[in-house]
Point group: C2
């Protein structure tokens, strides 16, 4: 990192926004809040009020959370138990200061609004990591997550400046069957195991399974990279990294808020998805809630089941298919994701519609038809990201549910049997984790498992 020598240093832009050297974390935030949080925050709110009065939704979209949160406080005193999507604004000068509460009935990062960057890091427990060690590990994880997601670096963090602007960082912890077995082998849920094999699986062993999952998500890759490294450092005496996968969506602010992401095949991806505000969301996603059958161990109540599939795209051959052919493969237009049976992106697909020749408009092999179920309990909450590294492109398909065997597996079985899209995708990685229930200032991650 050579510094350009020069007798006249250049001022491209001056900012006095960084924390000062001599003050601790709290003083730092106090000072920043004083400098920028108060007045500027109120200003933004005032101008947003004007924008809203003028009926200009674009402005609300462009500044998003900065207006929605509005409290301007420096702490994360809320919980994510509600819709979990309103960030707390620490600093109005850029969204870097936005943070999401990590406490609540459920962990953050599942039903919080999608952010731009995600990293999944799976660990293999060391042989010596017994119950007592795991209890220590969860205590450390709990403190690290409280610090890193709030912008107050944990005490042992040597680079607090890289943690000070969390950009809606969430850290979500999942466990694999081996971790549960080390605590109590009788409490491993039936579904917490490798998925049943699918005919078309091409798992290469590089992104399968794991004993512990750390899922980091943020709108900025810098605090995410720093947090991932801090956790890796603190986990080192308990577990080794097994694999790591990085995903992305369109950048924060590039599209109007709420725009459904596009995948690297060019498709609008994720349109039909339960929403956290839905009446049946909890019973689909959160274990032990709603009309749950009650046959799951209590330690995972308030948690969820994550299925992560690495889906490699064969984009070179996909590109050779003409546009109508690609649209028929999916059942939706490439332009805006609307069903081939008409309407806009969010219009329901009409599976009965026929064309002038009496043939179905949505072909029998179309992805949307194969993925569709008439059983409303057979639904999943998708939260995928794109990946593109090492000369390989695809989708990190992620979905949350109460029971993968009852929700993801029947969907994937239908796709596995007959989905024209299979010609251009292959599943090369597969993992299932139990997302732990949430925690509060008075409890910790893993408490219910260790109880």
């Amino acid at each position: 990192m050579p510094t350009t020598p020069g007798t006249e240093p250049r001022v491209e832009a001056r900012t006095a926004d960084h924390p000062s050297a001599e003050s601790g974390p709290d003083a730092r935030f106090g000072r920043r809040a004083l400098l920028t949080g108060g007045a500027a925050g109120a200003g933004i709110g005032a101008v947003l009020g004007i924008g809203a009065a003028l009926g200009i939704p674009a402005l609300r979209d462009a500044t998003s959370g900065a207006g929605a949160g509005g409290s301007g406080g420096s702490g994360s005193t809320g919980t994510n138990g509600g819709d979990g999507s309103d960030p707390t604004v620490i600093d109005a000068a850029g969204f870097g200061g936005e943070s999401l509460p990590c406490h609540g009935a459920h962990q953050a990062g599942v039903m919080t609004a999608p952010v731009a960057h995600a990293r999944y890091v799976a660990y293999t427990l060391r042989p010596e990591s017994d119950r007592a060690a795991l209890a220590r590990m969860f205590r450390i994880l709990t403190g690290d997550i409280e610090g890193l997601t709030s912008g107050r670096a944990p005490l042992a963090d040597p680079e607090p400046e890289l943690a000070a602007r969390p950009s809606n960082l969430t850290i979500t912890i999942g466990v694999g069957p081996e971790l549960v077995r080390r605590i109590d082998a009788s409490r491993v849920p039936e579904w917490l195991a490798p998925l049943p094999a699918f005919e078309r699986d091409r798992l290469d062993g590089r992104h399968d399974g794991g004993d512990l999952l750390v899922l980091l998500q943020a709108d900025d890759p810098l605090p995410l990279a720093h947090a991932a490294r801090m956790l890796e450092r603190d986990l080192r005496s308990f577990a080794d990294v097994r694999w790591s996968q990085q995903g992305f969506r369109q950048a924060r602010g590039a599209e109007p808020n709420g725009t459904t992401m596009r995948n690297l095949m060019g498709q609008v991806d994720g349109t039909i998805n339960p929403a956290p505000v839905d009446e049946d969301f909890a019973s689909l996603v959160w274990i032990g809630s709603g009309d749950d059958r009650g046959d799951q161990p209590t330690w995972v109540h308030g948690g969820s089941a994550l299925v992560l599939r690495r889906i490699r795209m064969q984009l070179d051959t996909w590109d050779m298919v003409d546009r109508p052919g690609r649209e028929q493969t999916i059942g939706r237009t490439l332009a805006d994701g609307s069903p081939l049976t008409g309407g806009d992106e969010h219009t329901p697909v009409d599976f009965e519609a026929t064309n002038a020749n009496g043939l179905p408009v949505i072909p029998s092999y179309a992805h949307v038809r194969r993925a569709h179920s008439t059983d409303p309990s057979e639904r999943i909450f998708r939260r995928s990201t794109n990946y593109d590294e090492g000369g390989e492109s695809g989708l990190l398909f992620a979905c949350y549910q109460r029971d993968p065997l009852a929700q993801f597996v029947p969907i994937q079985r239908r796709l596995d049997e007959l989905d024209l899209l299979n010609e251009w995708v292959e599943h090369t990685g597969s993992a299932v984790f139990a997302i732990l229930p949430g925690f509060t200032p008075d409890t910790g991650l893993g408490d219910t498992l260790l109880a």
Copy 2:
């Protein structure tokens, strides 16, 4: 990519912003402009006016280019010959529609304002790629760059929707010595060769050299990934990918505009840097301009010399050094990058200052002292990004100059000899490329080389 089945599709947010299926690229832009560009753009401008009148710089920062550009036109009619940092606004609903002109005396992507994501892709020419083939290749590259950077996908692009929102995408082309030799061996500049070996180099052969460089930069990783793939596809019959490296800075909008980036060691990185508005910028960076000695081949006049070094950071041992030790290693504070001799980030370093014991405040081994030169022509224009993949973290150090042997090499030699930072970094990759001069609607990339 299973679609969640469900009888009641969910509306998380409705947008009618995507191009319609039946219209071509131009109609698409016309329609989008009609829907969102006009009215919303005016609205943003109006509200920004209010914000500015109230003296709220944060709002201007948060919406940045959307307000600065303001023309709301759908084309990129300007050139990047000026300061090149004001994006043209295509669509006010998010910055995705911003595009930068690719035409000008110099290629875009060098002195254009730093964006969030960068990808360097180096190619090795195929044996059969002779002068005639290279002429075809440059024609294809020229058209692809004009299309992809403006948001109008090239005709052969099967996924125009992934190109429609360029997010300030720039594509910058460099050439290595072998490519020049295939056209005219007598015209290879002396500096267009592997750098002289440095004592502490630890080049592992995975990120060295190359015959052709494609540098893609954008504020959104999605159009960047798509453009990289389109170019790889179109280059396939001429060259094979040799290596690819991805870099990032803080996300667009996370920090106030103009904030100097931080690297993964936590340092403010890149403070002292010539600025495109400086009087001597051109003579430092653009070959054949200012007081250039005139000994460089004319084909590279208007171009520049890029040095790219992959610098791996040993963050685990770096973290073990206490904070004063890390600050003394650099000569600047970690908090805000100000020199240890006082002031703010942009205050000149006082190399003569001594402490109470009569010792220099900036130690003899400090990075800033070793990088500093009293010769003002011995300066470089830095444009680095962070990398963090495959369990490895560091800096993709990039710098532009007229002549690396006269500018980068003396700096790096001083650092190589004595820079305490060497204890925690190692250079594992090294490449030098000649950045071609710019092109206009009437000329093409490589014209001067092929003339």
